[in-house]
């Protein structure tokens, strides 16, 4: 029973590579619906065929309804894909219930998150690439989204921009340009009437950014080049800069993604108390480049700094010492706390950067909200995740190229 379950699971989990051609594919149960695909499939027969249909000779009788080869192939493939997706969905649902049973939880309330956790538990993987690890997701997420019928039976495309090759992208640009024009007209009207723009309607784009290239590709189900993405951003920026942009807020919001909420203010840890009754906070995993370490701050202190058992003189150069003192002097806590750190790896810059972040992160618990905001604006609380860029083959360095010769 368990073995069968496992087999079912593995069949769902094993990703299948489907042969894929871009233009003639079916797109089923697509979560984000672009209204470009809602053109109706009207079959317009030619007058010739009408005349011929009325005739009842052998030619007309044997003449079949003209379906273009592309449409035929598409229909076949669509059917196959439909069946396939249906089967996958069925297997996924059954697999989910089996998994819930295995984990001893209620199948009805088994969410996708629980599925992920269960898979990680049952199939622990040491593979670095997340894409290569075992996963179990609803088939819509796993298999590529495909476009609906882009042309009718006679082979006439539905979309008026079909022959550009990227209809949805160009429709989007066209819409944006049209909106800009409309806003200009509206602005002219308002100026003629000598009115002022509505002050409440100002767009607030502080907490959102434009969709990234990959996300835009997902939305449009088309591949986009870098240049096209840049143009998209240019046009949208232009749109947003107009004074009456709030009138098309919905259009703009569709292509903006909210930023991850700031983690610096959430979950500030409470200090624990050691044997002498002094409050202390330890931040582990202080990283910068290749330096790794941890920082402990003890609250009522005198400004003593200990790094790997040594004083601040552990760093010979002034720059590293300044970096270590930066958060303390910025918050003014330099003679009110004691700092104790252990670091290894990396060089002086990396180590001092790691300690700086560690001190700032630990100081969150000892500092009020106002100063916390100021630290955030100063950038002290951002983890510096940059790493050394690798050298590429065919080049002397990461970015340096061999001498450019015109010919």
């Amino acid at each position: 029973m368990m073995y069968q379950n496992c087999m079912k699971m593995s069949s769902v989990i094993i990703k299948q590579f489907l042969p894929h051609t871009k233009s003639v594919c079916a797109r089923l149960r697509s979560p984000v619906v672009c209204n470009v695909f809602n053109y109706s499939t009207k079959v317009t027969t030619t007058s010739n065929e009408d005349v011929l249909n009325n005739l009842t000779d052998w030619e007309t009788l044997s003449k079949k309804k003209k379906i273009s080869k592309a449409m035929k192939a598409y229909l076949e493939r669509a059917q196959a894909h439909d069946e396939f997706m249906h089967k996958q969905q069925f297997e996924y649902n059954i697999g989910k219930r089996h998994l819930a049973n295995m984990m001893g939880e209620d199948p009805e309330t088994f969410t996708q998150k629980d599925v992920d956790r269960a898979i990680e538990y049952l199939f622990p993987s040491g593979i670095y690439d997340p894409a290569a690890r075992p996963l179990m997701k609803p088939p819509e997420e796993v298999f590529p989204a495909r476009k609906a019928a882009e042309f009718d039976e006679a082979g006439r495309p539905h979309h008026f921009l079909f022959y550009t090759g990227k209809p949805s992208y160009f429709k989007l640009m066209y819409d944006a340009a049209e909106n800009i024009q409309q806003l200009y007209n509206f602005q002219d009207k308002v100026i003629r009437k000598k009115a002022t723009p509505d002050p409440n309607g100002k767009l607030n784009l502080g907490a959102t950014v434009w969709l990234t290239k990959d996300q835009l590709e997902n939305v449009l189900v088309e591949a986009i080049t870098d240049l096209e993405y840049d143009n998209f951003k240019l046009v949208m920026e232009r749109l947003v800069s107009l004074p009456y942009a709030y009138r098309i807020k919905d259009f703009i919001d569709k292509y903006r993604k909210p930023l991850a909420s700031q983690k610096f203010a959430l979950e500030i840890p409470k200090p624990s108390y050691d044997a002498e009754g002094r409050a202390f906070i330890t931040t582990y995993e202080c990283l910068r480049k290749k330096a790794r370490g941890d920082v402990t701050i003890r609250a009522p202190g005198t400004g003593k700094i200990t790094i790997n058992g040594k004083d601040l003189t552990y760093f010979d150069d002034i720059q590293s010492r300044e970096q270590v003192m930066f958060p303390l002097i910025f918050t003014g806590m330099q003679d009110r706390v004691d700092v104790e750190c252990n670091i290894e790896g990396g060089g002086p810059s990396g180590q001092s950067g790691a300690i700086r972040w560690g001190i700032a992160w630990s100081l969150r618990s000892f500092v009020d909200a106002d100063m916390l905001e100021r630290m955030q604006v100063a950038g002290l609380l951002t983890r510096d995740f940059r790493r050394r860029e690798r050298k590429k083959p065919g080049q002397p360095g990461a970015r340096k190229k061999p001498t450019w010769k015109r010919r």
């Binding site: 700094i305 004083d311 601040l312 003189t313 010492r321 300044e322 003192m325 303390l328 002097i329 330099q334």
Partner: protein, 371 residues
């Protein structure tokens, strides 16, 4: 507005009094003057320190500040009180000053030297031992010693030192109380009779550079005898003593063989001097990391720097640690630098400098430089 200017004046006045002291005689220095700067007269400086004694950076500072001011610190006060309280009939006590790089050992030594000079000691002062053993310009004048087989002489250095000795002890030598006890024959025509004053010996060494090292040797013997017979009390100060015990020097014979410090005549002379078989004297020595090459500078403790040989030679000794500035000293140093226009800027700079220099005197001076 008026009150602000009053406060400003009051602060300036209080600042002026908080880092300086008018007590310019080290014999009178006590706990009250701790952390304050006292000035030395220029003629005195020239007499005592014209051929060394102060670190080079300090000499530059004297020129910029147009005065020589030394801070009265705890190690110096300890040393002076020890010397005052010591019984001179016992064999000479040896003190070793140690501390990190730039914590003020040489300046402490200079302070105590000033006290000794005031108190009428006969001063035997080696400003920086590594100058002889490790500072090698293009060509170092060396010769094989005539009196001791297999030993190497440094005639010019010895002559320079004799000049230094002469200028430091001008008054004592001029008074002609100190007489040579034996007769020394240098060559067929030159000899120093017994009973002639000491300064003739010194001058002979300065004039005849060839015999300078031997003169130094003889001089040290004489000084030991004179001290033991209570003719004068001696104060020996050697800076960078641990470079006598480092296995190598930078000298090399014309046959390209590196010379060990034990093969240099000057080494033997001063090791004889620091031996505690004579009375009526004080020996103060510093163990400095800068006297040895960078690979062997792991620690500043005397046990490490003096090696086994030096430790055994100096054992027993009184170790005195020269540490960094404490809070009071730091504040007074800040006040002094501001007064001398060396440090300018808002008061927040002081807190930052305190941490980045870790209160090390030399580093603090270095870091105030570009501000």
């Amino acid at each position: 507005m008026l009150s602000r200017s009053w406060r400003h004046l009051a602060r300036r006045y209080s600042q002026a009094t908080t880092f300086r002291t008018n007590e310019n005689s080290p014999a009178q220095h006590s706990e009250k003057q701790e952390g304050l700067f006292y000035t030395m007269k220029p003629e005195l400086c020239k007499q005592l320190f014209s051929h060394g004694g102060f670190p080079k950076s300090f000499m530059q500072q004297t020129k910029t500040f147009t005065e020589t001011a030394v801070m009265v610190r705890q190690p110096a006060l300890d040393l002076i009180s020890c010397i005052k309280a010591s019984d001179l009939n016992q064999p000479a006590i040896r003190y070793v000053l140690y501390g990190e790089k730039g914590s003020g050992k040489s300046l402490t030594l200079a302070h105590v030297l000033h006290y000794a000079h005031e108190d009428g000691y006969l001063i035997v002062h080696v400003p920086w031992v590594s100058e002889w053993l490790r500072r090698v310009p293009r060509h170092k004048e060396m010769s094989n010693s005539q009196t001791n087989e297999g030993f190497v002489d440094l005639p010019l250095d010895a002559a320079a030192w004799l000049i230094h000795f002469k200028s430091q002890n001008q008054t004592l030598l001029k008074s002609e109380n100190l007489k040579v006890s034996k007769e020394y024959v240098w060559s067929k025509r030159e000899k120093t009779e017994a009973g002639s004053p000491l300064h003739t010996l010194v001058e002979h060494g300065i004039n005849r550079v060839k015999y300078a090292c031997d003169v130094v040797d003889v001089l040290i013997d004489e000084i030991k005898m004179l001290s033991s017979s209570k003719q004068c009390k001696t104060f020996v100060a050697i800076d960078g003593f641990n470079s006598f015990f480092y296995p190598l020097t930078r000298l090399s014979t014309p046959t390209k063989k590196t010379v060990k410090p034990d093969e240099v005549t000057l080494t033997t002379s001063f090791l004889k001097l620091t031996h505690n078989d004579w009375t009526n004297g004080v020996i103060v020595v510093t163990a400095d990391q800068l006297a040895v090459p960078d690979d062997h500078q792991e620690s500043f403790l005397p046990r490490y720097l003096l090696y086994k040989k030096g430790f055994d030679h100096l054992d027993p000794f009184v170790p005195i640690e020269v540490g960094r500035y404490n809070e009071k000293e730091f504040q007074s140093c800040v006040g002094y630098y501001r007064d001398r226009l060396w440090l300018r800027g808002p008061p927040e700079v002081e807190t930052e400098l305190k941490f980045t220099s870790a209160c090390n005197p030399y580093r603090f001076m270095e870091q105030c430089a570009p501000l």
